[in-house]
């Protein structure tokens, strides 16, 4: 029993030490390099590297040179139980804001050891609630938009890209 306890303790220590010493800034640059291959560029003004969290401030996202959105803050934090990415607001710019509501609020991306094959997404797009799942086992991204009944007519254009459901609209992508 003591041996098992010791092994668990060593694993926990290794994980925490690994996360604390991880060169997060460099890892972030690597991610930027990778997404650049898909035409996505991120212009970031400030990075903050804490022991168990990493925060990116004031970023502008470009897709193929076209300004897509402004992100004021992206905070990535990890605990033993889960890893969370929290984005307080994404303000869409350029032509994009003509197609969808201006601001995406309180976007939370959660990866938990409780369900290792699923990444959960939650947020608000205007008065629309976003509820999404990335299923790593089935390779499916599913985003559900829960639209208030009064506003359903306002988002009619979404039908072009999403499947209408009883609650609102659904988007599915297989990767």
């Amino acid at each position: 029993m003591i041996k098992i306890f010791k092994v668990v303790l060593y694993i926990l220590f290794a994980i925490y030490l690994f996360v604390a010493l991880l060169p997060k800034e460099n890892l972030y640059y690597k991610i930027l390099q990778e997404v650049e291959k898909y035409g996505i560029e991120v212009d970031t003004k400030k990075l903050q590297d804490d022991y168990l969290s990493f925060t990116v401030f004031d970023s502008i996202v470009y897709y193929q040179g076209l300004e897509i959105c402004e992100v004021s803050k992206v905070k990535t934090s990890t605990t033993l139980y889960d890893t969370k990415i929290y984005i307080p607001s994404i303000i869409f710019s350029g032509m994009i804001k003509e197609f969808i509501p201006n601001t995406l609020r309180q976007l939370t991306i959660t990866y938990s050891i409780k369900d290792i094959y699923k990444i959960k997404l939650q947020g608000y797009l205007g008065k629309v609630v976003i509820d999404g799942i990335v299923d790593l086992q089935k390779h499916i991204l599913q985003i559900e938009l829960i639209v208030p009944a009064k506003l359903k007519h306002k988002y009619k254009t979404l039908r072009k890209f999403m499947k209408p459901t009883s609650k609102g609209y659904r988007y599915e992508y297989k990767f």
Partner: protein, 267 residues
């Protein structure tokens, strides 16, 4: 105080081992990962600046310019013309019928068109206004036997002239302000070659809609606008944003594996 150092060291040593291993992994990661990232956003603003050069037109223009330079006898509009009819549409636009007193030749003149240097600027129920050298000239309708008409039909926004399609800017304004209207009439999807955009395909088009009248057909692949190839969404959005400022537009289309060009004059 009795501390068993042997036990303590035995307890600490595995942690030291773990720390060393983790540290070495992190050093390896640090060496492998990039140290900085340079953002290189290409603000390609050269798109759509290209204008189609029409040799014949430029020759005619030059000829007109030369003719203008010649000293001409001043044409007196008010004394030489009879306003026979006025067709007024909304916003004081429409067309008129005028007759020359000298030879009784009649002409039909649309708003913003010139007649002997006089520009027809606005139309009213019983008179019209011409402008020349910043001076306004009003021409009254002859009362006997003529009538003025209020247009009930929609003003024509698209005119086909030889190989060029003339499009009124009012129509463009209507569509650029209301993107929903565009989607109602046309459905476009990007075409990808080697995971890169290589034009936009017309999947659906309303045969009664404006885009059909503008010459686009189902399964057309729009390859370039004003000689700028459509290689990204940015290119497409740039056109959408700039179209109201353009005077000429040229579309390069792939239709049934053959390249077709459509020229527009935006007035």
């Amino acid at each position: 105080m009795n501390i068993n150092f042997n036990k303590l060291i035995k307890f600490i040593i595995p942690f030291l081992y773990i720390s060393t291993v983790v540290y070495l992994i992190e050093v390896g990661l640090y060496i492998y990962l990039p140290k900085n990232h340079i953002v290189n956003i290409k603000h390609n603003l050269t798109t759509l600046e290209y204008k189609r050069f029409n040799i014949v037109k430029s020759y005619i223009d030059t000829k007109e310019k030369i003719n203008k330079n010649k000293v001409k006898k001043e044409y007196k509009l008010l004394s030489n013309l009879i306003l026979k009819a006025i067709y007024v549409s909304s916003e004081h636009k429409g067309w008129i019928i005028i007759e020359q007193r000298k030879n009784h030749n009649t002409h039909i003149l649309e708003c913003n068109e010139y007649f002997n240097g006089y520009k027809l600027v606005s139309l009213y129920s019983n008179y019209v206004v011409f402008v020349k050298n910043h001076k306004e000239y009003s021409l009254k309708l002859v009362k006997e036997g003529v009538k003025n008409y209020i247009l009930t039909s929609k003003p024509k926004f698209i005119q086909h002239q030889d190989s060029t399609i003339i499009v009124k800017k009012d129509l463009i304004k209507q569509y650029t302000k209301n993107y929903k209207k565009i989607w109602k009439e046309i459905k476009i999807k990007e075409i990808k070659v080697d995971n890169k955009i290589d034009g936009f395909k017309v999947l659906k088009i309303d045969k009664k809609g404006v885009f059909y009248e503008l010459g686009l057909r189902k399964n057309d692949i729009i390859k370039a606008v004003n000689n700028t190839e459509l290689k990204s969404y940015k290119d497409a959005f740039t056109i959408y944003g700039k179209i109201k400022y353009l005077k000429e537009l040229n579309l390069k289309i792939l239709r049934d594996k053959q390249e077709v060009e459509i020229n527009y004059e935006l007035q």
